[in-house]
Amino acid sequence: MENLNGYLVVSAILFAIGTIGVLTRKNAIVIFMCIELMLNAVNLTFVAFSRHLGHFDGQIFVLFIMTVAAAEAAVGLALMIAFYKNKESISVDDVNMMKW
């Protein structure tokens, strides 16, 4: 597959966007979506390598990751609701108790 590099570049860009989003955005839901973006960037890499190497292992991994991501979405959203009940906000600026 001659255009493996193209997939990897797209995947890297997606991952970087996700990372920057996680680090810079304040809204917990947006951060959550950025994490999904990072996961999917990884998925893209897996699929690209799977196709490139002619193995199915990578695609099986992708299915697992999507399952875990769905579970994670459920837990994450539950956490956010719980947090919102306490603080009437979902901005991560209000989550600042993790210090000395």
């Binding site: 990372t19 996680v22 680090l23 991560v92 600042n96 993790m98 000395w100």
Partner: protein, 668 residues
């Protein structure tokens, strides 16, 4: 009977345990006092049994050792819990249990109604046990337990009225000064043990074994070092120069304690120890001379202070120091028998004097209490004319005073005169002898003076307390007067078992029983001393008679001066004080020895303590501890800002970390 020697210290121990643990619950004074007295009296009975059995044996068989149980066996070192019964320890246990029983009995009356009655009897029993261990121990370590035990009990009993600051201070002073002496004792013990072990492979602290090996000891040298260390121990326990200042302060304790511990028994431990190791001490002529000089100096020094004190117990305390000086003088001139003899007679008359003064104080206190007066019940200036109110106390007191003054026919005369004679005629100290005798005779003169001053001020003349209080003065109850009568009797006749040969010969050759009794104990020492003794021309009998007469005259002079100053012409003391104000002030303030010691030892120690506290502890120790904490706090104060608490900061550093690690693996 010898086999039962372990019962002697056991009975007081039982008494201590019962009164110590259950006394507070028992409450009943008769039961508590009864138990305490009964226990020591049972020891007395066992002691009598041992004495009787020993009298029945020929002199060379009068030694018995009883091993109770092995105590410390470690390598070469061996110390058993074992007792040594010989004529010397027999004399000591008789004195301790005999006088001890009487004083226990007396205490029932004297301590009546005191808070902590049970505590008093528990301590008194514990003291007796320790003292009996001290005199019965067959090795230096058992002796040392007793040595420390009596020191502890002395501390506890001096501080009996612990709510009084002066009593607490006096107790601490006694304890600390005794510790200085104990240190010397231990060093002496180690020196002797080390020398025998390293030079002759005899690793022992057992008196009998040391005695058997004592011929190996050199004259002087290491023996001088060891014996001087032991003597330092003796000066602490027996209140000799330089460690004597605790004893007068120890009068803060109840009077029976002064009689038992600070007159009859504990303070004689140093004398006993020298007697027990006479065969070691005699091998060092230098130590013998030091002992004689210190003894004579203490005798005269304490006697001078005694002449100016107004507290009845303090006069007796200085008298005790002075009489102990006589005992050490005897030891130092090689007259061990005379020293032990004086120890015994002194125990009788001084215990009687202390108990008599206690009886007076008891009565004075009662009378002053009745009229709600706060005058000092112990100050002789408040007394006077007590003779008619307290006849039994007066007579026993007078008999003991005559005995201590050295009037012929009474016990003190025989023992003191023997010491003075030996100080003069001993073959060891050459030209020093005449000085020793002179100082001793002068001290005897002072003794007669201050003792009769005490009697005249207390029992004769006008009663100086309030007339209303006078009617409340009364003789003490029987439980107090019986011990007084027994001790007074002993003070009068106790000397006849040790008649000097000169007098014995006059009455058809009555032997000196006491000397014969102790002969086996001190025979070896006398044998060793022949090495350096230089016998000159033996003084004639006429000369001995005249010296004896002279010492009687000296005593009579002392009594005469006291009579003139305190009965006939009562203005004289005041005039004397006015003429020599500096001298009187110096004597009254005990030659400023306490102040001197404060200046030389106590204050520098305090200053050093202050320095260690404020200089070393606060700055260095606390500085290091707080410094470490401050450094840690400083750094954490900076680094804590890394922990912002915001998730994205943590996430960022995580990402940075991942990048760094990956970067490392990619570009390495």
């Amino acid at each position: 009977m010898f086999d039962n020697v372990w019962l002697i210290p056991l009975f007081p121990l039982i008494g201590f345990l019962i009164n110590g643990f259950f006394g507070k619950k028992i409450k009943n004074e008769a039961v508590i006092g009864g138990i305490g007295t009964l226990m020591i009296f049972m020891s007395f009975i066992v002691s009598c049994g041992i004495l009787l059995q020993m009298i029945g044996l020929p002199p060379e068989q009068r030694v018995f050792e009883k091993v109770l149980f092995p105590w410390i066996h470690s390598g070469n070192f061996k110390a058993d819990m074992a007792f040594l019964v010989d004529p010397l320890s027999a004399v000591m246990i008789m004195v301790v249990t005999g006088v001890g029983s009487l004083i226990h009995l007396y205490s029932i009356g004297y301590m009546h109604g005191e808070e902590g009655f049970y505590r008093f009897f528990a301590y008194l029993n514990l003291f007796c046990m320790s003292m009996l261990l001290l005199v019965l121990g067959n090795n230096m370590l058992v002796m040392f337990i007793g040595w420390e035990g009596v020191g502890l009990c002395s501390y506890l009993l001096i501080g009996y009225y612990f709510h009084k600051k002066s009593a607490g201070d006096a107790a601490k002073k006694a304890f600390v000064m005794n510790r200085v002496g104990d240190f010397g004792f231990l060093i002496g013990l180690f020196t002797l043990y080390w020398w025998f072990g390293s030079n002759h492979n005899i690793w022992t602290i057992n008196f009998t074994e040391i005695k058997a090996a004592s011929h190996l000891l050199p004259y002087g040298g290491v023996v001088t070092v060891a014996t001087l260390c032991f003597f330092v121990g003796a000066t602490g326990k027996s209140a000799q120069i330089p460690l004597f200042t605790w004893l007068p302060d120890a009068m803060e304790g109840p009077t029976p304690v002064s009689a038992l511990i600070h007159a009859a028994t504990m303070v004689t431990a140093g004398v006993y120890m020298i007697g027990r190791m006479s065969f070691v001490f005699i091998k060092s002529p230098e130590t013998m001379m030091v002992i004689a000089v210190v003894g004579a100096a203490t005798a005269i020094f304490a006697a001078t202070i005694g002449t100016a004190q107004n507290d009845i117990k303090r006069v007796l305390a200085y008298s005790t120091v002075s009489q102990l000086g006589f005992m050490f003088l005897a030891m130092g001139v090689g007259a061990f028998t005379a020293g032990i003899f004086h120890l015994m007679t002194h125990a009788f008359f001084k215990a009687c004097l202390f108990l008599g003064s206690g009886s007076v104080i008891h009565s004075m206190h009662h009378a002053l209490h009745k009229i709600h007066s706060h005058d000092d019940a112990q100050d002789m200036r408040n007394m006077g004319g007590l003779r008619s109110a307290m006849p039994i106390t007066f007579i026993t007191f007078l008999v003991s005073t005559i005995a201590i003054s050295g009037i012929p026919g009474f016990s003190g005369f025989f023992s003191k005169d023997e010491i003075l004679w030996q100080a003069f005629a001993n073959p060891y100290h050459g030209g020093l002898n005449i000085v020793l005798w002179g100082v001793g005779a002068l001290a005897a003169c002072f003794t007669a003076f201050y003792m009769f001053r005490l009697v005249f001020m207390t029992f004769f003349g006008e009663c100086r307390i309030n007339a209303k209080a006078k009617s409340y003065l009364h003789e003490s109850p029987l439980v107090i007067t019986i011990p007084l009568m027994v001790l007074g009797f002993l003070a009068a006749v106790g000397g006849y078992i040790g008649l000097p040969k000169l007098i014995g010969d006059m009455f058809g050759g009555i032997p000196n029983y006491f000397e014969h009794w102790l002969e086996p104990v001190f025979a070896l020492a006398n044998q060793y001393s022949a090495q350096y003794a230089h016998h000159g021309a033996h003084p004639s009998h006429a000369f001995e008679w005249s010296l004896m007469g002279l010492s009687v005259v000296i005593a009579l002079i002392g009594i005469g001066i006291a009579f003139t100053m305190y009965v006939q012409n009562k203005d004289l003391p005041g005039k004397f004080t006015a003429t020599f104000p500096a001298l009187h002030r110096a004597v009254y303030n005990k030659w400023y020895i306490d102040e001197l010691y404060d200046f030389i030892f106590v204050n520098p120690c305090k200053a050093f303590g202050q320095f260690l506290w404020k200089g070393f502890d606060v700055i260095v120790v606390d500085g290091v501890v707080n410094g470490v904490a401050n450094v840690v706090m400083g750094f954490s104060g900076i680094f804590r800002y890394i922990q912002s608490g915001y998730i994205y900061n943590y996430a960022f550093s995580m990402a940075l970390g991942v990048v760094a690690i990956l970067g490392y693996y990619i570009f390495k």
